[in-house]
């Protein structure tokens, strides 16, 4: 059996238009608290994989650990909680991509260390191998080190658990290839890529069951000590996106094809 801790942050709904702004507390997003949010897409995959694993390995349990503003998390949980059974653990703090990964890992470590009944020998730390905010791919490893875990896997698309509790893991490596490794068992850190499971449907009963623990978790959430001065940002800018698009229409296919081929060969 496993004790699976899924670390997942809040990111702006991927469809939103983002603009950086510098405020008194450092860099952030314009209207950050107004932007609709989602659970980070990679962390979401990790959560679905965790729920799937917990269902197949009897006695397992899933915690979702998140660092984010309490009010935003409350709203977001109304969507996430319908997807998979978990117990929520909250660190009330910024969800900004501009926060240092080391600071985030420390905040997550502090709340994970406080989870009652968590057995370190059964621990699997799940999360996304990247995030849609900081996109650094480093928080999980730092957290793993703080938890004293020496087996880490990143870009994971598949985890198979052997009868003896050993883990076989498929990680993405360069050029569309996979590295397949085995690990003698928990504890381990797995940063998930997209995995292989589709997004589960919204299950209202799962939502109701989760809610019994979500609201108390939010009420209990303590402010996380996250230092904003770890990184000295010299500038944050939006890349110039607009290109002058030449539109070619009402042109014979042969002409278009020839133009494309000339361009490709040039």
């Amino acid at each position: 059996m496993f004790h699976i801790v899924v670390c997942g942050g809040i990111v702006p709904d991927p469809l939103q238009t983002l603009e950086p702004v510098k405020g008194p507390a450092g860099w952030g997003l314009k209207n950050e608290l107004m932007l609709p949010s989602v659970l980070d897409p990679w962390a979401s995959h990790a959560l679905y994989e965790a729920a799937h694993l917990a269902k197949t390995v009897a006695g397992s349990k899933v915690w979702l650990v998140s660092l984010g503003p309490k009010a935003k998390l409350q709203q977001l949980m109304m969507t996430v909680a319908q997807k998979a059974p978990f117990e929520l653990v909250v660190a009330d703090g910024p969800a900004s991509g501009f926060t240092d990964s080391f600071e985030v890992a420390e905040a997550l470590h502090a709340v994970i260390a406080g989870i009652a009944g968590l057995d370190a020998s059964k621990l699997l730390v799940f999360g996304g191998w990247q995030s849609a905010s900081r996109g650094s791919g480093s928080t999980l490893q730092i957290l793993g080190e703080k938890l004293g875990i020496a087996d880490h896997f990143q870009g994971v698309d598949k985890l198979t658990v052997g009868a003896d509790g050993s883990l076989e893991i498929m990680e993405r490596v360069e050029g569309g290839a996979y590295q397949i490794s085995t690990c003698s068992g928990a504890p381990a850190v797995l940063g998930w890529a997209t995995g292989e499971l589709p997004e589960p449907p919204n299950n209202p009963q799962v939502g109701m069951a989760n809610m019994r623990l979500v609201m108390p978790a939010l009420q209990k959430a303590k402010p996380a000590a996250v230092k904003a001065d770890a990184i000295d940002y010299q500038s944050v800018t939006l890349p110039a996106q607009k290109r002058e698009t030449r539109v070619v229409k009402d042109t014979p296919v042969d002409v278009i094809a020839q133009e494309i081929v000339d361009w490709l060969k040039n």
Partner: protein, 618 residues
């Protein structure tokens, strides 16, 4: 997962809008103490307060669409400490204007008297007493009392809903679940006993597919229906019960709007409210509300009595924004949000049975929108508050949610309220629009100024009967042969007709600036952020396919706010793309063909669906 789950709760609600916000805020105060302890106990879960669950169709509770100007009387009564500065995108009203817009292009279809008046305005200009003619516009020297919103607020309903929803959930008295479309009421022995949620893991036709999960049945002693003017639960109840005698739901409008970051040169102050009439077509009303932080919420209403079969709100919106009166404020601005919604414009004429055994109706679907004062949010909120008070009273007294008890508590409150008094005044104020724009405006003024004592009488018709053929609408301007040619060309290319026809009658081409003037698809993607999760059935369907094949107007395509309904080059039955649907519901009433089962309805079916807008700035 193939088995349908069933869950019991005390109160189930569908649709989280301002009405539900008012209901849950009021209910929460009655059933839990400030420390979260229960005032009264749930029958189902002893020791806990009554279990209240609200299901919302959209992907989040704050992604609805509406720019609001409101006197906010009911909202402020419930929330006396509401500080506009603490609510994002909210400003007290500082200035109101009603502006008549002339047509700078000569492309709109204006009745002769209007043309004469326009000529007179131009001729007399500033010399007319009380008149400032400038930029093809005339600011009315006086705002009729029934229209003014002095002392009120302008705000974003998306932000307001989020704020209210979070506050409600923080009390622990209710849970609000987004992405959970309520498909239909569960009716047993003429009693509503709960709500069935939409099936998931189905194909477009609704047939079980991978990961099939039948929608859960949520059974409750009270079902609160607040799913708006096109909500499937409310409409199913209307289908089952019919409307009270003499009532009809024949008047609608689609409101399409954008939120804009105003350019630096724009002098408008937060709290400025501008209403426009007369342009781009006489029937189309416009609004511009200035919010804090150089943002504005602006858009148009295209009503069901605008007898143009190619009634595209999007193209008209672009012409409206470019009217010289407005463009001087907007040019250089950036669109940040886009959306549309159907308004139920029948008001009290369209009021359904407000209660029955096991259920109560609140909000716009219950006929709260006041078309005379142009106000709906505060009225919806007020209806929710009244139901909240009634439910707390019945819970305190331990009385069941029967038709009789709900009549005595909730309906009685509504009948005695300002909401009812004002709805009565408004009841016949709009009906003259059925006879045309000028009778409509005059009739509205008469009704408004006499507080409903007088009106300009006219007969209403089911909405589909009002839509003429394209040939008829363009008679004298475009020949039948030319329309046939344009139609053939557009169908082959999978395009709607409206652009080609509007170009043809003299509307200038829209020159995209990539910021405010952008393609409809970009508005959908940049401004609306519209999307739909897989695994749900198509929520827009066509009842009788042969009717569609024979239809020449295909107003559903022309009017679609998201270009989600498109021509089908191979068949006369339009195509529908869920991933572009805003859920405005305009297709439901923008159809020129009656349903074969109910002559008051059209051939378009609009069911429960997830997805839609992902913008909280609305």
């Amino acid at each position: 997962m193939d088995e349908r789950q069933v869950m019991e709760t005390d109160i189930v609600c569908v649709g989280f809008g301002p009405a539900m916000g008012g209901f849950l805020t009021t209910l929460a105060r009655g059933i839990v103490n400030e420390d979260g302890s229960p005032v009264m106990e749930s029958d189902l879960m002893p020791g806990m307060p009554p279990q209240v669950i609200c299901y919302e169709r959209a992907d989040d509770i704050g992604v609805g669409v509406s720019g609001v100007v409101s006197k906010a009387r009911a909202i402020r009564e419930t929330l006396p400490d509401l500080d506009p500065a603490c609510l994002p995108m909210c400003a007290p009203i500082t200035e109101e204007k009603v502006v008549y817009l002339l047509d700078p292009h000569g492309a709109s279809r204006r009745p002769l008297p209007m043309k004469a008046a326009d000529a007179a305005f131009k001729l007399l200009g500033g010399r007319f007493p009380g008149c400032t003619y400038k930029d093809f516009s005339w600011e009315l020297p006086y705002i009729p009392p029934f229209l003014n919103k002095h002392g009120g607020l302008t705000f974003s309903i998306g932000q307001f809903n989020q704020w209210v929803g979070n506050n409600v959930m923080a009390t622990g008295a209710a849970q609000i679940w987004p992405s959970s479309p309520g498909a239909a009421p569960i009716i047993e022995h003429r009693k509503v006993v709960g709500v069935r949620l939409a099936d998931q893991g189905v194909d477009k036709a609704g047939k079980p597919d991978a990961a099939y999960m039948p929608g859960m049945d949520v059974r409750a002693k009270l079902t609160v229906v607040g799913d708006g003017p096109v909500g499937p639960v409310g409409r199913a109840i209307d289908d089952a019960r019919g409307l009270p005698i003499g009532h009809h739901q024949r008047d609608y409008a689609v409101g399409m709007k954008v939120v804009v970051d105003l350019p630096g040169h724009c002098p408008l102050r937060p709290g400025t409210v501008i209403h426009t009439i007369g342009y781009p077509e006489p029937e189309i009303f416009g609004f511009l509300y200035v919010l804090p932080d150089r943002k504005a919420s602006l858009g148009i209403f295209v009503p069901s009595w605008f007898d143009n079969p190619v009634r595209t709100a999007y193209r008209y919106l672009q012409h409206w924004m470019q009217h010289p009166y407005l463009w001087k404020y907007l040019k250089g601005g950036t669109l940040t949000s886009f959306g549309a919604k159907t308004l139920q414009e029948c008001g009290q004429n369209g009021e359904p049975y407000l209660v029955g055994d096991g259920y109560a109706r609140i909000g716009e679907g219950s006929g709260t929108t006041n078309v005379l004062t142009g106000s709906g949010v505060d009225e919806a909120w007020a209806s929710g508050v009244m139901l909240g008070e009634a439910v707390v009273q019945l819970l305190e007294q331990g009385l069941p949610f029967t038709n009789e008890n709900l009549e005595k508590t909730y309906v009685a409150r509504r009948r005695a309220s300002w909401l009812e008094a004002e709805a009565k005044q408004a009841r016949r104020s709009r009906e003259a629009f059925a006879s045309g724009f000028i009778p409509g405006v005059v009739g509205m003024a008469i009704s408004g100024l006499t507080k409903g004592a007088l009106c300009w009488p006219a007969d209403s018709e089911p909405v589909h009967k009002r839509i003429p053929s394209i040939e008829e609408y363009y008679r004298g301007r475009v020949s039948c042969e030319e329309i046939a040619r344009i139609r053939k060309d557009c169908t082959a290319k999978g395009l709607a007709l409206h652009d080609a026809l509007m170009d043809r009658v003299g509307w200038p081409a829209i020159e995209y600036d990539g910021k405010l003037l952008i393609s409809h698809q970009d508005a959908l993607l940049i401004g609306g952020k519209v999307q739909a999760a897989p695994g749900y059935a198509d929520h827009v369907t066509f009842e009788d396919h042969d009717t569609c094949r024979a239809c020449r107007e295909k107003t559903c395509i022309e009017a679609c706010s998201g270009q989600a309904i498109t021509t089908n080059p191979d068949d006369g039955v339009p195509l529908f793309d869920r991933e572009k649907c805003l859920h405005c519901g305009a297709c439901l009433w923008n159809c020129s063909k009656p349903s074969k089962t109910d002559p008051e309805r059209t051939n378009v079916r609009f069911a429960a669906g997830a997805g839609g807008l992902h913008s909280a700035e609305n």
